[in-house]
Structures are given as structure tokens and as C-alpha cells.
């Protein structure tokens, strides 16, 4: 049996043979192989009759012609923050066991010395209504993982805002004995989607305590969160995981950023410039929606706040993690 090497792999081998960058490229390639096996293959939008990750990687790297740029894209891959199903499970558990419970303790003004503290807390948790902000948040899994029960209806508030009756919502909470509302979202980039839904909730429940829990929150979304909290005193927004600026590739360079970040910024701008007008509109900017510059990829989908060069698929660009767009 002969060994016919794939052209991209042959190129990769040539890079690995280089005395200057060979060891680094080899290490990056090993990391990518490991991430592929453990995480990247979980990406849902490419399940089924879609190219495998390694094939998508080949095509994605070949989007650019210059070998130095190709290497920069390769180096970017281990920097992507891919959140797989098991990572989400941890986020779900932490959201309830840490964020929600701490908030409930504050709401109840519980003392640790109170012998009935545990019982009061358990009772309060049954009086919570845990709902998703949008349909991307898998609220079912959140309930299951935290062994929560007793709530038949768990509507997403983005849809409620569009189609719901405020009075019916108020009637439902009264009937169900709901005293607390917890709104969850898997990923919050700028916070614009979250703002609409949360403002609607605030209008429906002007006095009911509301906790908003973004599982992952970008820095720009944090500003939105503060604005909302300031406007509505009954709303508290507490993320499980805050992303730091250094985890982003923003339009303005950060001091001391690594070479791969600078290289990818240049490639992102060049890629955006070469896109057709419709494609440019669909990806908002070279750094994604509202120039967030995120590197987050969720196993369920890639947020539009992430660099378009990661997720945008069009005739002139092959995506690494093609985004399943709503539109």
C-alpha cells in the first residue's frame, strides 16, 4: 500500500522540518490534534455530511496564500476558546450552585448560623423560575444537571417579548408561586440581545428580584450589564465566566500582545476587505458583531461576535467553524 500524502500535510511537514519554527509548528500541530480529538469534533453545525475538522483546517489555512499568514492561522487555532458539551455542563452546574445560590442567600438575608438556612434555601430555589434568554441556551440540560424540577414552562424571553402576553406571564407567576426569576444565556457578546429580553422582563416584573446569568460574558457585554443593573435595581447580572480583553483580538492592539494576535488582526482586516458587500454586511466588521473580536466557539454554534475569519463561509472564504446563522 502506498502512502499518498495530502498536499496540506506535506506543507505542514516542510514547516516542521524548519530549524527556526519546526518545533513550534510541531507543538501547535500536536495541540490541534489533541483538541480535535477532545473538542473540535463536537461542533454541531458540521455534524453529518460536512467536511471533517482536519479537512476544514486545510481549506481554512489555504484561504491565505502567504506561508507566513498560513502559519499564523495555524497558530491561532489553539487560542480559540472552544466550549464543548462537558465544559457547558460545568458552566450549568456553577451557574446554579454558585451564582444562583449566592444570589438567593443575599435575597433571603440568610445567616450561615441559621439552623434552618438549608431548608430556607431549598424552599427559595423551588420558588425560582429559571428561563433562557434566547433559544441557544439549553435550559433543559440546565434543569437536568442541577436536578431541578417543578417547572413545566421554561420559555425563552426573547420569544416571549415578541409573542407573549405580559398579563399571562404575570398570572402564571402568581399561580405558580414564583418569587424569583433567573434568566440564563449561554454567551453574551455585546449584550444587545440580552438587553431587549431583560428590559422586557423588568417591565413585566418591576419589583420581583431578577437574576441574569450569562454563562460567558465578553468585556463589552459587561458594560451593557452595568447599564441595565443601574437602571433596574431589582435586576442583578452575574456572569459565570468573564472574558478578559487579552482573550480577544480587537481592532486596537493591546500592549504586549503576542505576534500571532498582530498577524491575525492583519489577516482579519485583509480578509474583510476582500469580501463581497453582502458578506461584509453579514459579518458586520473584520472583528465580528460590534467589533467584539471574540475567539469563542461554542459547540452548538459560533457566535457572530467571534472573528468572521473563523466562522464565515462564502465563495471566497472557507470557515473553520462555519456558523449556522439565524438569518
Amino acid at each position: 500500500m502506498t502512502s499518498t500524502k495530502l498536499p496540506f500535510e506535506e506543507r505542514l511537514m516542510a514547516w516542521m522540518a524548519d530549524a527556526n519554527c519546526g518545533q513550534e509548528i510541531q507543538d501547535v500541530n500536536s495541540q490541534i490534534s489533541q483538541l480535535e480529538a477532545e473538542l473540535f469534533n463536537e461542533y454541531e453545525p458540521t455534524r453529518g455530511l460536512q467536511p471533517l475538522f482536519r479537512d476544514r483546517l486545510h481549506r481554512w489555512i489555504e484561504n491565505v496564500a502567504d506561508p507566513a499568514d498560513q502559519q499564523a492561522l495555524l497558530r491561532l487555532v489553539p487560542h480559540l476558546f472552544f466550549i464543548g458539551p462537558r465544559e457547558f455542563e460545568v458552566l450549568y452546574r456553577t451557574a446554579f450552585q454558585t451564582t444562583c445560590v449566592t444570589w438567593l442567600i443575599d435575597q433571603l438575608g440568610l445567616s450561615l448560623e441559621d439552623p434552618l438556612a438549608a431548608e430556607k434555601l431549598r424552599q427559595a430555589s423551588t420558588e425560582c423560575w429559571f428561563c433562557p434568554i434566547s433559544d441557544s441556551m439549553r435550559i433543559n440540560a440546565f434543569y437536568h444537571l442541577n436536578h431541578l424540577s417543578g417547572r413545566d414552562l421554561r420559555p425563552d424571553w426573547r420569544s416571549l417579548r415578541a409573542f407573549g402576553s405580559e398579563q399571562k406571564i404575570i398570572d402564571h407567576t402568581a399561580k405558580e408561586g414564583i418569587k424569583y426569576v433567573v434568566l440564563l444565556e449561554d454567551f453574551v457578546g455585546t449584550g444587545s440581545q440580552m438587553r431587549d429580553a431583560v428590559e422586557f422582563a423588568a417591565a413585566v416584573f418591576p419589583t420581583l428580584p431578577i437574576l441574569v446569568v450569562p454563562l460567558v460574558l465578553c468585556p463589552v457585554g459587561e458594560q451593557t450589564s452595568m447599564q441595565i443593573s443601574t437602571r433596574f435595581p431589582n435586576i442583578q447580572i452575574t456572569p459565570v465566566l468573564r472574558l478578559h480583553e487579552v482573550a480577544l483580538i480587537e481592532p486596537v492592539p493591546n500592549t504586549g500582545e503576542s505576534q500571532v494576535v498582530s498577524d491575525v488582526r492583519r489577516i482579519a482586516l485583509a480578509m474583510y476587505g476582500s469580501l463581497a458587500v453582502e458578506d461584509q454586511k453579514s459579518v458586520y466588521s473584520a472583528f465580528g458583531f460590534n467589533e467584539t473580536g471574540s475567539l469563542v466557539v461554542l459547540y452548538t454554534n459560533c457566535p457572530d461576535n467571534t472573528l468572521p475569519l473563523v466562522h464565515h463561509q462564502c465563495p471566497s472564504w472557507n470557515a473553520l467553524f462555519p456558523r449556522a446563522s439565524r438569518l
Binding site: T2, S3, M16, Q23, Q26
Partner: protein
Amino acid sequence: MDRRINPFNELYVSETIRSTDFVRIFSPLVVDSAASLFLPGNVVLQGVQGSGKSMLLSLLRPEVRAAYLDAHVDFPLQGKSASFIGAGINLTHSRVIDFGQRPLPRGRGTDAEVLPIYFGDFVNYWIVYDLFKSLELLSRAPEGIPQNVRPNLSADLMADAAARIVRADCWFGYVAETPTWDGLKNRIAERIGSYLSFFNFNSDSIPDSISNSKTSIGEPISLVAEVLRQVGIIGEDVHVFVQIDQYEELLRLEGRYKELGVHYRAVINRALGLRDPRVSYRIGTRRYGWTESQLERDRDYKLIDLDQTLRRSENRKTWLFPRFAEDVLRKRLQVADYDIEASERPLTAVFGRGYDPKQKALRYAGSARTRAVRVEPQWPLGWCHFLSELAETDPLSARLAESWARQKGKESIMKQGAHEDAPWNKDYWRKERVEHALMQIASRCGQRMIWSGTDEILGLSGGNILIFVSICQHIWNAWIRAVRPAVSAPDRKVPQIDDSIQAVGVHEASTHWHRKVTEQNGGSSRQRFLTVVARTLEKRLLGDLPLSYPGNNGFSVAVDDLDADQEVSAFLDQAASFGDLFDSPHTTKEKDRKERRKWYLNPILCPYFNLPHIRTKEPFYVDTPTVREWMMEAEILLETPGRPRRPNEPKISATDISRQPTLFDEPATSND
């Protein structure tokens, strides 16, 4: 068959794999070299990680023997060598080293006095219980087991044996009330359970019935073996082999329990020192785990050093490792359903012969081949033209010709018109310098050195089967990535893996083993030291333009110097005992004829450090102050002078040098 499955995914063939799998992938080729392991008498089986100790010891396990019978495969041991019943303890899996992790309630004696006795007692009971299990398993084994080895577990013999065993003094009455086979077994299990319960904090103390009946190491085991023969459960000619594996774990006990490791080792050593003909002990240990003791080699025990057995000696014809590796490869491929019958030499079938040196040089040089040579401004133009032209077709020869001209007294070659005789092509001269020249060509052309082909893979394995399998694993992974074989292929032929793919796999394996250095005790220090040494040697080799010292990928120190600087000596011994450096005596060519030792990097680390792995000619001669400087650069030592060892002062052992300080320790010798 699914070609995307790597046949080398499972690296280890030890006690953790299923017996049925063991039968399929065990290679019996090393059995003959470890013959004394299967004959009466105590044996210490020593080797670095992955040398195959646990694999060999697995042959003593009755379930493995039964698995051979089930699979209708000949047991690798026959005749007298197969006349044994095995039982044993793995010091890690049994949790015996947990003694000392929980303080004992105050009672008779200090922890240091009492814990080793409990340790020995636990070992006794564990092994006796395991021996009972072995007997029962072998008695039920399929047809084919030698008649003298199959235990006769008839009811009357078992009753007789139990009655005799419980009467013996060595138990201090603990089993006296259980004079039946099952009752005795249950009582032993109960005692082991009590210990485990205590380790897990499920009980407040060790019951009085145990603390008042602690046994002496080895005595119950010998007694049971004797009784089994007396009553006829096993034949008079059947040996009882007791294996104690992972002995080196006793060195890894942490903190204030560290000193207990010394006592625990003394307990095991005492069992060997008994030289009891009724039982033979087999100790499996890594090289650093077996240190000087009161025992006498060849009297109290025989030593089998697997590293020495499998590493290459001067005579390649007697080198066992290539056949061993080939057999391992064949079996792995067979298990993966490759059609291996057709290829007599699977190693060559898969890995080929590799690049020959000329091809390698061409590959390094790429399209700008003249980069392989460097000329001096004062050199005659004709000579420079000649070198450039030669480099276009044969960069290796051009580089060798360049070095010839740079050697003292050989400059005249540049003035000669024709070079048909090409003295740099003389076999003896060329052979010793090829690897050195290739290293320099790779460097001049901005390439990493590459390794591929059967001989180089065997060479990099350094006689260690785990390293060989690990190289195969990485190469196979690189092949799967590079050619993306079909999931389902009717063609079962083994692939011949391209040299460039092998080169990638070798580098990945080397990186893996470089990182593994830190996994072992004191490994971070040694890894830093290896980096300092490798950079020093690389600089020397690259700077040696006449290729006068091609053997400088290793270093040599006079034994007198080593004796005078025990810190350096102990550190180098330690690095060798962990397998990071390979050491051997060095017959010097210097006039003083001083006895020397030489050290080379473990060959698998050479690709990572970009050094040739082949040893040739004279290593780099250094003194201990130089090694001490390397150690200081690696932040292992903080002070310069090495004090000579005083007369009668005990030598620092290789294990002492790695002793790590703890919060409650006295200041230690190492700052690791």
C-alpha cells in the same frame, strides 16, 4: 479493517492489560535472556521505565498462564522453567505503601519502629491470600497445564493443609480458630480488609487481634509453601515464586514518611536475605530503586539488568533488541488485523531503510545546495568552484571535502588539480564523520535533523521497548494524519510509511520523551541539565568545522575526578539510573590511560536537541568542575567547589541527590 486505528495506541504491556490481550501481544524473545527469573533463587529484575519488567513478571501470573491455554498458544516457558506457581504483590496497587499515611494510635513503639512491622505483616497476608487464589485458579485451568503444576485441591488435602497451617507459631494465634481452607482464607481476607478499612479512615484503629499478632516478613509465606508440598497440593519440584513489583515506589514516599521507605525496603530485603529454599522472591524495580544494601549479589539474589541486556553492545550481531522489537511490531500489526504473514521483515516493510546519508544531505540542502559548504576568502578559486559544483550533486561529499581541507596538514588538497582520489570518501574517514557533517549541513540550511528507517528507529529506541512502541505510535499517528487512510479497506497489507512522515513522528516522540523527563523524581533538574549539556555539545559540534571531533555528542570524565566530587558523581549516576543519560566505561586513548566513564543523552532525546544519536570516536573530555558548572547553569548546584570525599565517608547515593525539601524537612542537598 479500520485503518484509522493506531495499532500502538496501547503503549504498556503490563499487569494492567487483560490476560487474553497479553497472550496476543507478548513477545517471548527476551525470556531466554531472563532465564534465571524462572528458576529457583531470588531475583531482582531491574530496568528503566518501559524496559519490560512488568511484562516479564506477568508470566508468573496464573491467569496469564491460563489465558495461554485458553488461546491454544504455547506458554513461552517450558520444562523446568515452567514448573512454578506464582503469587505476589504490586506495592502501588495493593496500597501497602499507605502505611504511615495515617498515624497509628499511641501504643507500643514509635511509628518508625512499628510501621515497618505492620508493613511486613500486610505483605505476608496479601501474598498468602494471592497464593491461595493462584492455586484455585490453576486447579481450574484448562487441559494442558503440566500435571505437576496443576494443584490438587481435593477436599481432604485442603483440610489437611489448613489444619497444619493454622497450627503454626508464625501467626501468633490469629488463624488458630479457623482450621478449614475456606475459613483460613476468609480470616486472611478479613485481616487485609481491616487494614484497608483503617487506611480509609473507616475504622478508628487497627484491631487488637491484629496488633497482637504481627508476623515476621516471609515466615507465613514460606510456611504455606512448605505445607502445600508436604500434603501434596503441589509437587515437591514445583517452585513458589513471589513477585514484588514496583519496589521503586518505596523511594517516592513523601515528606516525613520518606524515611519509612528506607525501613520498608529493609523489610523486603530481609525477605530476600532469608535465602529460604521454600520460596523464591522476584523483585521488579526501576534502576534507581535498587540501591546498595546489606544484601550480597549472587548470594542473596541474582540481578537481571534488562537495560544492559537490551541496549546495544559493540557487537551488533549479538544485539537482541532488533529481533525483539521486530517481534513486538509483528504482533501489534497482527492484532490490528494487518496481513503480516506476507512480510518476513515487518520492520523493513513498514519503515524501510530510511534516507541514505547522501539523500538526507540533499533533503537538508533543498534547492540551494551550495549552502551546504562554506569557503574561506583565502582559498583558491578552483577549489571553491569544485566545492560548489560538487555540492550541486552531492552536498554531503562537498561538506566532507570542505572539512578535509580544513584539517591540519591537509590543506594541500586545495592546490591539487583533480580530485578523483577524493580522500574524504575513504570509508573509515567518511563513516566516522557522516552524522557530524549532516548535522552541520542541516544547520547551515536552516533545517531540523531528521531520522527515519529501521536502523535509526532502533537506534533511537536505545534498547527500550516502550520507547520503540512510542516511536511507532507517533509515526503511525503522523501517517494517519498525512494520508488519511480509508475507514474500511479490503487491503490488509501493511503500509510502507514515507520517510518524511517517519521524521515527523520521530520528532513528536522525542518531544514526548523530553517532557516525560520531568515526571520522575528530580526530573525538572535533570531536564535543565540535559538542556545545558545538549546546547554545549551542539555548539561544539557545529563549531568544529574540520569535523575533528565527531564523537562530541557525549562527554567523558575521569573516574578519579568523580571520586573526588561526590555531588557531581551522584548526580550523573542518578541521571543514568533514570535513563536520561546512558553511561558506560570509557577506554581512553590518552596517554595517561586513566580510567574514565562516558555519558550520552538517551538517544530518543537527540532529535529534540538536534544532536546525532550515533556514537563514534572520542567523546568530549571534561573534568568535574566543568560538569559542576553545567549543574550550576542548570540551577542544580549553587556553589562552586566540590569537596573530595573523606576516607570512610559514605558515598552520596543517586537517590540522595534528588531528595526534595519539604516543609518539615531539614535542608536538603538539592534545591529542586
